[in-house]
């Protein structure tokens, strides 16, 4: 695990600086670019560069041993970190006072106090300048996600924001700031996933918090400002936990070195600190009881949602949890983190079946998947960590695609209500095929997430005691709920109906930026499904082996024939669909309607004369599941588990 100073890895310090600095620079330029055509050029150009740089970093890493490195010239970032922390705190305090919301400033003040105590009081050991950054397979996975999906979202936003401003002319166009924030987000995410030094990571951590705060509040309506502050408060709370963890760890030699911290055998580390770091991870990944901030974030322009859900922000949370997994293995903290995650998975899936707003369904699905990842991180066996990383990958591509598609639909149909998407396959064929790809990626066998879920169940079987049984029960019910809400969405997308040319033209006005981005995403969904074996064997499997010194039993070990059968069957339905599409011998007006079909698609003779259009609505389990109540109960239950997680280690060790 020696720091590599020679070989291809030697490019990594420069690339790291580039990945952090270049998007930041591009963002600043965009902040001052008002001409749309210039902006288009800059965004496309910068996105391409970022994507290439991230691929270059992965190539430079070369899938070898873990690499630790510092800044070029071994510069110490300690002062810069302190300045950044003070600036962030002051910004939060200022904006909080401006909007007369005082919780956020209070939390920022507390963090500021800790930072001053650590830095000015000299309680924080100076970081090892050669171990500031840590590039390993997990970091590589996240760099690729952030560096490929993030830029694609930025490109999509070019088309989306143009239509968005047209749809909502009353919202002041501040597209300059919007694009600045997108790129700032990417910059800080690169920093975050590559940091090995905890104080350094905290700075990037807080920048992502701020970015999401500003993006959620983009429209500056009282409603979105409220949601923005909710996100800020919750994430600052997590940040505060992170700070306190730093305080607890700073007394130990090398305690702030993430790689060393997690490489220690489980139980040897300071569990309360691990618990606090896990708390930070849970807030950022919007696990219950902190889920409401991510739901509120749905009111932001859709690229924000795509970014928050796929490649940034929430992924930072589970990234930290996965990093901590070895340290949590077999501890009370691990078990409790697992149950926060799994219970969130269950409760949120239950809420999702009652939700009609497509973006919110997607959001609940994100929280559920993150819950599963958190659960896997908490159980912390090689298998479960393998599952967790696999879900990170598959979820990022598919969910980003889905958000972008919903964004496109929203700008064409002026609604996010799932119920108004019916007949989509006839109305907007390309968009529906993209949507189908995304939904299939999320839950249809044999796409990646299903493979991951199956592996999770396999892994949970091995978990001894009541915990194993509980995990299995949660998986069983949660998976069924997942099928229910995705199935409903598929029903809407797959329904056909007669359309007039005006409706057909809707699709033609979708911008090229959006087509490009969504198509690339769809190719990504299919690509990662096809490459599932490679991803598992070359990247995720070795990572789990490295982290746990034990190889995960992946699906390839269990049943290699399965993969062949499945990949073949993936092609089955599209092929059939294509064959059917070319046929013309169907008659949509010929639907069964008690003998009252009235010669047109979806029209029947009405009871009181004339005709009437048939409308169809999905079931939302009204009278069986009260979504709001489930959400509150879940929040309360998870809050209790979380409280136990923070308190128990302190008590047990005392």
């Amino acid at each position: 695990m020696a720091a590599a100073t020679a070989g291809p890895g030697s490019l990594l310090p420069a690339l790291t600086v580039f990945l952090v600095a270049f998007p930041l620079l591009a963002g600043v330029v965009l902040l001052f670019t008002t001409a749309p055509s210039v902006r288009n050029v800059i965004v496309v150009g910068a996105s391409t560069v970022v994507a290439l740089a991230s691929v270059a970093a992965a190539v430079a890493f070369g899938n070898g041993a873990d690499v630790f490195y510092g800044l070029p010239g071994d510069a110490s970032p300690q002062t810069a970190i302190f300045i950044a922390e003070v600036a962030i705190a002051l910004f939060v305090i200022g904006i909080g006072l401006h909007y007369r919301r005082f919780l956020a400033p209070a939390l920022a003040l507390a963090q500021l106090a800790i930072a001053i105590w650590l830095q000015v009081g000299g309680h924080e050991p100076a970081p090892d300048p050669s171990r500031l950054f840590w590039f390993d397979r997990l970091a590589m996975v996240l760099v690729l996600i952030v560096g490929i999906i993030g830029p694609l979202i930025c490109i999509h936003a070019l088309g989306y924001m143009r239509d968005y401003q047209r749809s909502y002319p009353l919202i002041r166009g501040r597209r300059t700031a919007f694009f600045f924030l997108l790129f700032l987000f990417l910059s800080s995410m690169f920093g975050l996933v590559l940091s090995n030094d905890l104080p350094l990571m905290l700075v990037f951590w807080e920048i992502t918090t701020l970015c999401s705060f500003l993006l959620i509040g983009y429209t500056r309506t009282p409603e979105t400002i409220g949601y923005a502050f909710r996100a800020l408060n919750m994430n600052l709370l997590g940040g505060l936990g992170f700070s306190i963890a730093i305080v607890l760890l700073s007394g130990r030699p090398g305690g702030l070195d993430l790689a060393r911290l997690t490489a220690q055998p489980a139980g040897a580390v300071l569990l309360p600190a691990i618990a606090l770091l896990a708390l930070a991870g849970l807030t950022k990944s919007a696990q219950m009881p902190f889920s409401s901030w991510l739901i509120g974030a749905m009111y932001a322009p859709t690229p924000t949602s795509a970014l928050l859900h796929s490649s940034t922000m929430v992924k930072a949370g589970v990234f930290l949890l996965l990093r901590l997994a070895p340290a949590m293995a077999g501890t009370e903290v691990g078990t409790l983190v697992a149950f926060v995650g799994l219970l969130t998975f269950l409760f949120v899936s239950l809420v999702a079946v009652t939700e009609q707003n497509t973006k919110k369904v997607l959001a609940y699905s994100t929280i559920a998947n993150l819950g599963l990842i958190a659960g896997c991180a908490g159980i912390a066996t090689p298998q479960t960590v393998w599952v967790g990383v696999m879900i990170v990958v598959f979820h990022a591509v598919a969910k980003s695609l889905l958000f972008l598609v919903v964004g496109t639909l929203e700008n064409r149909l002026y609604t996010k209500d799932m119920e108004h998407f019916d007949g989509l396959l006839s109305r907007m064929r390309r968009v529906s095929i993209l949507a189908l790809t995304g939904i299939a990626g999320m839950f249809v066998a044999p796409f990646g997430i299903v493979i991951a879920k199956w592996s999770a169940i396999r892994a949970f079987i091995e978990v001894p005691g009541w915990e194993g049984a509980a995990c299995l029960l949660i998986m069983a019910f949660g998976s069924a709920l997942t099928i229910f809400y995705w199935g409903k969405m598929l029903l809407k997308v797959l329904s056909t109906r007669a359309v007039d040319p005006g409706e057909r033209a809707l699709e033609e006005r979708v911008s090229g930026f959006e087509w490009f981005s969504e198509t690339a995403h769809a190719a990504g969904v299919v690509g990662v499904a096809a490459l599932v074996g490679v991803i598992s064997e070359r990247v995720v499997g070795p990572y789990a082996l490295g982290a746990f010194h034990a190889a995960p039993r992946t699906f390839l070990d269990v049943s290699p024939a399965m993969l062949v059968v499945l990949l073949a069957s993936v092609l089955f339905l599209p092929a059939l669909g294509f064959w059917a599409w070319r046929r013309r011998d169907y008659d949509q007006a010929d639907f069964y309607a008690s003998g009252r079909q009235a010669g047109a698609d979806r029209v029947v003779g009405a009871a009181l004369g004339g005709t009437r259009e048939i409308t169809l609505r999905n079931y939302y389990l009204e009278g069986v599941v009260d979504g709001g109540l489930v959400f509150r109960v879940g929040t309360a239950v998870c809050a209790l588990v979380l409280a136990a997680m923070v308190v128990v280690p302190a008590v047990v060790r005392a």
């Binding site: 209500d417 119920e419 009405a606 009437r612 409308t615 079931y619």
Partner: protein
């Protein structure tokens, strides 16, 4: 908010007859129901303009193929009332035998259809199997299974021999024993209670306001039974109207179950009390033309029917009107549908035992 529209009927397998409801649903909860009928309307009341009053009874019988006997009987009784015809004693008794047999037949038929609507096919089959025995009696005594044409103005066309009547009473006694088994299923089966208990509750006050009649009203605790008038010879029989308090679909089933038992008992009473002796007169010869009007009430299986006849001294009646029980029960039924589940709709519709053919005429 978007809702599901379900065009229920006119062709729908749980509706034996065309009835149309446009249901508006959330999940499966009915939030609105727009009714209409008119798919069976023939305009048979206007046929009095073309059909002589002596023949009109055959049209009246075909108002409905389930209570056809009762319709023929009601029509003849109305003319007899207008013309002041005294019907022979034997004919009065015989009419009641057939009338109560018709009630048993109708209720068995309905119990079958009702069970089919809530998905209990087996029960449907067994109910209809029993019903065939009643049809056998009809066939033996009148020659018809559905339409008997045995009523005439002034009496009945055929007699039933005393020995045959005793045989009928005996067959019914045996039937009653087998019916008890089926009745036990209806009364005790938890899956039936799941579907019927508490569904479509019509409180007594609403039943009264809505003008509900027959088993529908009696299941809501109203002791209305036109047989209590004592007309048509019912004054010679001992019975109490069957009343249930529940007001729900289950209560409506229970009322009909008990009415089958009651009718079996009534036929036993009829056979016991009827003056014995074959060869008694069964028909009074009627002369002249009717002139005048009457309101005639009769308790059909589905409840009170009201005939209004107006004659003007010619062969052709001036007005013939049958207000059938379903016509009176439909408004209450429609008000019940709202707020229930789609799956409850067939039960609510069927537990009024709708006869759309009667309603539309």
């Amino acid at each position: 908010m978007k809702r599901t529209i379900v065009p229920l009927g006119p062709q729908h397998p749980v509706l034996p007859e065309p009835l149309v409801l446009d249901l508006v649903l959330e999940d499966e909860r009915v939030v609105d129901a727009v009714p209409t009928i008119g798919y069976i309307h023939r305009g048979l009341e206007a046929m009095v303009e073309k059909v002589e009053y002596t023949e009109m009874g055959f049209v009246a019988e075909r108002i409905c193929g389930i209570c056809s006997f009762m319709h023929g009987m009601g029509f003849c009784a109305s003319i007899e009332d207008i013309m002041g015809v005294e019907v022979p004693e034997r004919a009065r008794w015989l009419r009641l035998v057939w009338a109560e047999l018709s009630r048993i037949q109708s209720h068995l038929l309905w119990l079958g259809l009702g069970s089919d609507a809530f998905g209990f096919e087996n029960l449907f089959m067994h109910c209809w199997r029993m019903r065939e025995e009643i049809l056998d009696i009809f066939e033996a005594t009148t020659g018809g299974r559905i339409i008997f044409s045995v009523n005439r103005i002034g009496g009945v066309k055929r007699d039933i021999a005393d020995s045959e009547l005793a045989g009928i009473a005996e067959r019914l006694r045996a039937l009653g024993e087998r019916f008890a088994e089926i009745a036990r299923v209806f009364r005790a089966d938890p899956s039936i209670h799941h579907r019927l208990a508490g569904v479509g509750v019509l409180p007594a006050g609403e039943a009264l306001a809505a003008g509900a009649v027959g088993p529908m009203a009696r299941a809501s605790g109203l002791a209305t039974d036109t047989r209590l008038l004592g007309t048509h010879g019912y004054d010679r029989l001992d019975f109490e109207p069957v009343v249930e308090a529940g007001g729900d679909c289950l209560a409506r089933v229970l009322v009909r179950l008990r009415e089958v038992e009651q009718s079996i008992d009534l036929i036993r009473q009829l056979v016991d009390r009827m003056p014995k002796g074959d060869g008694q007169p069964i028909e009074t010869r009627v002369r002249g033309l009717p002139d005048g009007e009457t309101f005639m009430r009769l308790e059909q299986p589905r409840g009170e029917v009201v005939y209004y006849l107006k004659a003007n001294g010619t062969k052709y009646l001036e007005r013939f009107r049958a207000r059938t029980p379903t016509f009176a029960n439909i408004p209450a039924m429609i008000s019940l549908v709202r707020g229930h589940d789609l799956a409850d709709v067939p039960n609510i519709i069927l537990t009024i035992d709708p006869c759309i053919s009667c309603t539309e005429r």
